[in-house]
């Protein structure tokens, strides 16, 4: 795996760099912040251990065995290790690079190809794939399954997971949202809105709220219907080709839209969008355009805090705590902005939770693929949340929201999980001012 100068069609950086691996001085500081080490307690489940395995593989001392592959996928990619490493080693990046190597060297399970090459690059197919779930929820099947206790007959793991997806809206947001949402009362900005798959399919109402808030604050919002998955899920599974393909598509799309910013309410889409420049920097046709795209990407909280926001907010009475999604706090350096917004809302009693920036264990599909570990990490997060006495946990990432909601159910807590912007939207809708009629 050493840099042998062969560009296998990827950005050379994406081949695990032996230099970077050597930079690890094995001080062990990463063990103090790694959620999987805290759960499993073994060196193999730590960043230091994973880097040692990658180094051994690079030196020809270890094959890419199923056990090796398994360990490369145990990392939740929360980036906490990189945030404390004295040598500047980006362990999570090196682990992703290893997954890319695995993807290119080992035969992959057929369903993986189906999902990443078949489903993700087609919004229609992805929406179709979710239909059975919508049916299950809307036709009363779910209600029946829960009431009759049928779910309890399944292995605990699967029974739990059946309750995880939130109630889907009638239709994916992408279908019924107008491509251009006008600004409310005078256009001040023209922004693109990156509608992520999870938001569109599972949290449509939440993204609708984000768009309302943007429009309320003078933004004309362009949501191109052709938006595809940002590509992070493909990247997380080592499918770099698909990730780059999706990136190119989205860059083309938003270029045509002529917007001054590309706003998103999904932490992951934001983080990956900001990395498009890095991802495509060796592609002569896209390097500059990808960099320009990444410059424009903003998390909704970041965008709002940077403009002169409408501060006339109605009251939302709730004790609220906040969970920092990894892709916001470490992926984008954004942790103050959501808190600023929450504290602006009259009636909100904001309380910090301990270890608010520790991973929740959601990590994309991690709760499906690594249920025990995911639940171990989640249980600790829920204990911290419960200790705040909050009624609401706010978090700006759909996967975190699903995971936290699952945690709330597991721990039987009297708490709700929501996106911070949904609270802001509520506050705007309760605004009692003359002359300013807000849009539906």
């Amino acid at each position: 795996m050493a840099n042998d100068g062969v560009n296998r069609g990827f950005a050379p950086r994406r081949v695990p760099s032996y230099d970077e691996v050597l930079n690890c001085i094995r001080c062990g500081l990463c063990l103090s912040v790694c959620p999987t080490y805290r759960e499993a307690g073994t060196e193999t489940n730590s960043p230091r251990g994973r880097i040692a395995l990658i180094r051994a593989a690079a030196e020809g001392k270890l094959e890419l065995s199923p056990n090796f592959v398994d360990h490369m996928y145990r990392c939740t990619n929360c980036m906490a290790c990189a945030s404390v490493c004295p040598s500047g080693v980006q362990a999570h990046e090196i682990i992703l690079d290893a997954r890319v190597e695995i993807d290119s060297k080992l035969p992959q399970p057929p369903f993986k190809k189906w999902i990443f090459e078949g489903l993700l690059p087609s919004a229609r197919k992805l929406e179709a794939a979710v239909w059975p779930l919508r049916l299950y929820q809307r036709t009363g099947l779910r209600w029946l399954a829960e009431k009759t206790g049928v779910l309890k007959l399944l292995p605990r793991h699967l029974g739990d997971l059946a309750t995880v997806p939130p109630t889907l809206s009638i239709s994916p947001l992408r279908r019924w949202l107008p491509e251009v949402t006008p600004a409310n009362d005078g256009r001040k900005y023209r922004v693109g809105f990156f509608l992520g798959c999870a938001q569109s399919l599972l949290f449509a109402e939440s993204s609708a709220a984000t768009i309302r808030v943007l429009s309320h604050n003078g933004a004309e919002v362009v949501t191109p219907r052709g938006t595809l998955c940002c590509g992070m899920p493909a990247m997380a599974y080592g499918d770099l080709d698909t990730a780059m393909k999706l990136a190119r598509h989205n860059i083309d799309l938003f270029e045509k839209a002529g917007v001054e910013a590309i706003v998103t309410d999904c932490a992951t889409c934001g983080e990956f969008g900001k990395h498009y420049g890095e991802l495509l920097k060796h592609d002569p046709g896209y390097a500059e355009r990808a960099a320009a795209y990444s410059e424009k990407v903003k998390d909704i909280s970041q965008f709002l805090v940077e403009i002169p926001m409408d501060d006339r907010l109605g009251e939302v009475k709730a004790r609220v705590t906040y969970h920092d999604p990894c892709h916001l706090v470490r992926g984008q350096g954004i942790s103050a902005e959501p808190r600023v917004l929450l504290k602006k809302i009259p009636g909100i009693d904001f309380v910090e939770m301990k270890e608010s920036n520790w991973c929740c264990g959601g990590a994309g599909t991690y709760m499906l693929t690594h249920y025990e570990m995911s639940m171990g990490i989640l249980d600790r997060k829920m204990a911290n949340a419960a200790a705040t006495g909050a009624e609401v946990i706010a978090s700006g990432c759909p996967v975190c929201q699903m995971q936290l909601a699952h945690g709330v159910r597991r721990a039987r807590l009297p708490m709700k999980v929501t996106h911070p912007i949904a609270l802001l939207d509520q506050a705007y809708r309760r605004q009692k001012t003359t002359g300013n009629r807000q849009q539906r």
Binding site: L22, I25, C27, G28, L31, S32, T42, E43, P86, S87
Partner: protein, 472 residues
């Protein structure tokens, strides 16, 4: 180990706590020491003193070696299995069993992370001073085995000064308890002190009783720049001779200053030969007095600039360059070799100059920082382990650093331990009689040489019956 061992070990700890896959073994084949590694045959994670004892009894029966391990942040190869065998990770024993606020003691299991102990006792207005650089991740058991030091060593002492009792499983599997809660105890040999710093060769520590002191109510931090190394060194001696014992008296040399500035851009002036970070603590009036004295002494010794903290946030900010020292150096090259040759305080300046000479002679990048107040310096060699020629020069340079330290009346290791990395140099300092005594103690307690063999030159000395011509 014979073929029976997996079943036996699985029976003792449960099969979930026995690791044997190649991937697991690779991850336990190193600690934080560069250039040193060794694969164990298995890793075991006991949960109780009884399990530890059973494992050691089995080891003696079956003839396999056992290497105890905490968080594996050891800097001298003490946690590395160089003769195969078992690595025994003690981190499952991780409870703080008791904090006795009347007797001012804490009873902990060896896997408790030192930083967690700090937090727990400070919440009760108490203080456990030893604070090695790894407190966020290292464990008390490891701290005790290595007699870890830290930045507060000058005023408060080291781990040894706070351990007043232990429960230890001897290499043969017997369990002993040493010391106790009383402030004074002279009953029998001081086995507690024997175990502290024994680097996992004389017993596996399963319980630790430490004494605590009241938490100092306030402190002040000073960051002082010097154009001349000698002035900084004289300041250090002068502070002590004026009867002020700072909590912390840290030093950064010019190479370190440049690397730190490159890394954190704190505005450190690059032409300074030395930076001192000085902290005094205690009651508010003492702190004011001591800080004023220190500032005056620094001025008298031609300090170029002095910054004094007014708030805890200031303290934190001023200490940033010291905290950044190791990270900044580590980023210069792939391989970071952190030594800890220690000299008496009065020899700090000569030692730093010798290190700088050695660096020039062998064309190596060496930054020196460390605990000037107690003479425990960390000459840090930055190199690339893939460069064979560099590694050879490294070996020569490190040897000369040790010789310089010994010549100046110092010691091979102030706090990192001997383990493997300094084993070769042991006879230089211990001499024949000292090595013989160590061998006698080791053989008495561990007749089958089960526990962490091959460390501290004990086996080699025993084999050669003398230091041999290579150490002339």
């Amino acid at each position: 180990m014979g073929p029976k061992w997996p079943a036996e070990l699985a029976r003792i700890v449960g099969k979930d706590h026995l690791l044997t896959t190649k991937e697991d073994l690779i991850c336990y084949g190193f600690d934080a020491t560069p250039l040193i590694g060794g694969l164990p045959q298995a890793v075991v994670m006991p949960e109780s003193t009884e399990e530890v004892a059973a494992i050691l009894r089995l080891a003696n029966q079956e003839g396999f070696k056992v290497v105890p391990r905490g968080a594996g942040t050891n800097l001298s190869g003490g946690s590395v299995a160089i003769q195969g065998g078992l690595v025994m990770q003690l981190t499952r024993l991780d409870r703080i069993l008791e904090i006795d606020t009347e007797n001012l003691t804490a009873l902990v299991e060896p896997g408790v992370v030192t930083g967690n102990l700090h937090t727990a006792v400070e919440a009760k207005g108490l203080f456990y001073p030893p604070d090695p650089g790894s407190t966020a991740v290292s464990t008390l058991g490891g701290n005790v085995a290595e007699n870890a030091g830290g930045l507060r060593g000058l005023k408060y002492g080291v781990t040894r000064d706070y351990v007043i009792g232990l429960e230890v499983v001897l290499p043969t599997g017997e369990v002993i308890t040493t010391g106790g809660k009383t402030v004074k105890n002279v009953t029998g040999y001081d086995l507690t002190r024997l175990m502290v710093g024994s680097e996992g060769t004389l017993g596996v520590i399963t319980r630790i009783l430490v004494r605590l002191i009241p938490r100092p109510p306030s402190r002040k931090t000073m960051l002082v720049y010097y154009r001349c190394l000698g002035d900084a060194a004289e300041t250090v001696s002068s502070i002590i001779s004026h009867r002020v014992i700072p909590t912390t008296l840290e030093f950064l040399d010019n190479v370190t200053i440049r690397c730190v500035e490159q890394y954190i851009h704190a505005g450190l002036p690059l032409e300074m030969e030395a930076v001192l970070l000085i902290e005094v603590d205690g009651s508010p009036s003492i702190v004011e007095e001591d800080a004023a004295k220190v500032v005056r002494i620094c001025r008298d010794h031609r300090a170029a600039e002095i910054q004094v903290s007014r708030t805890p946030e200031d303290s934190f900010r001023l200490a940033a360059s010291r905290r950044a020292a190791l990270p900044a150096l580590a980023r210069m090259r792939p391989t970071t070799v952190l030594e800890d040759a220690t000299v008496p305080r009065s020899q700090v300046a000569p030692m730093v100059r010798r290190i700088q000479q050695i660096a020039r002679k062998h064309d190596l990048l060496i930054g020196t920082f460390g605990h000037a107040g107690d003479g425990n310096l960390h000459p840090t060699v930055l190199c690339d382990e893939r460069d064979r020629a560099q590694l050879e020069r490294l070996e020569k340079a490190v040897r000369e650093i040790f010789e310089a330290a010994l010549e100046l009346g110092g010691t091979l290791s102030g706090e990192h331990g001997i383990g493997l990395s300094k084993a070769l140099y042991m006879p230089l300092e211990m001499k024949n009689a000292g090595m013989k005594a160590m061998v006698a103690i080791k053989r008495a307690l561990d007749p089958n040489n089960v526990l962490n063999p091959g460390k501290m030159y004990i086996d080699e000395y025993d084999r050669h019956q003398g230091p041999g011509s290579r150490h002339q």
